[in-house]
Amino acid sequence: METALNRGIGDINATLASITNQVAALNTQTLTTDFLDNTYFIISAAINGGAMGTAISEVKHPGVFQIASSASANSGARAITHSNSIRLSGGEKTTIIFKTPANLTGVTAVMGFCDTLDAIAWADCACIKINGTTLTGETESNNAGSTTGTSYTVAVDTWYRVVIEVNADATSVSFKLYADDSDTLLWSNTLTTNIPTAAGRELHYVITAIMASPTGTTVLLLIDYLNIQFTNSRRVV
């Protein structure tokens, strides 16, 4: 039989849990952009003459940016945070809503925590890679890499939501791909090796795409939204 004392203890526990959750939320540093304007927090740069610019928005996709190639080989663009601005320590999470282009042949895209500048080479990462139509999760530490044991074949001209999450003690990285505007989980996998956490393994946050042999200006990737969370970094309250 529930007593008044038990109810009181239950109320106190619920209040404590609520406070704990609120403090955790306040200590979670979050960066979000919907690409509605040019004040997005990442630095954009061209790769071999490519570009990043505004694109036409779509229903349920306000604010869209696109990465486009030039006519040069391996051209595209990147959006990154400052180089070496992140050292993975556990609790990092990112959500990206992106759309594949109408043609994916020769396209390579990298999204997440990675120190690449050209979508070709990198030494450290916990990221998603799309090579043609093959999407995989990747980790790499000081040039020693791991790739998820399964992959997903993406369709062209299709919106997706991808979530990359480093667990609290940075011993695993999970990758989840969802259908657009949906909870339908299309693919998921986890890596537990080659997670770059050691000193010297600092990296940045990147969204980049290139095309190996474009014949002209070609859209390579569209980005509608991104969110980065640091749930396990220093306390701010």
Partner: protein, 83 residues
């Protein structure tokens, strides 16, 4: 392989069926071959494949950081501020 489609029946990708996994809703094992530049719709238990008409896309290019810096450096050199 399992082939996923959205609420409109549009193909949205595929992957291997995992051991012991049943076919999820909005997915099918009906085989599909789709090439680059093509889209497919699952209609009445079969795939219909269409070529995507890619309208010319006006790429509104924002000046990149590198381009802005290049212009700034050129300006400063022209003005004799730096050499």
């Amino acid at each position: 392989m399992i082939y996923f489609y959205d609420d409109n029946g549009k193909y949205i990708g595929c992957r291997e069926l995992l051991d012991g996994e049943s076919v999820p809703s909005k997915a099918t094992t009906v085989e599909l071959v789709v090439l680059d530049g093509q889209e497919a719709y699952f209609v009445n238990g079969a795939w219909e494949v269409n070529t995507i008409n890619v309208a010319p896309v006006a790429v509104t290019i924002e000046p990149t950081t590198e381009e802005v810096l290049d212009e700034l450096i050129t300006l400063l050199v022209d003005k004799g501020v730096i050499y």
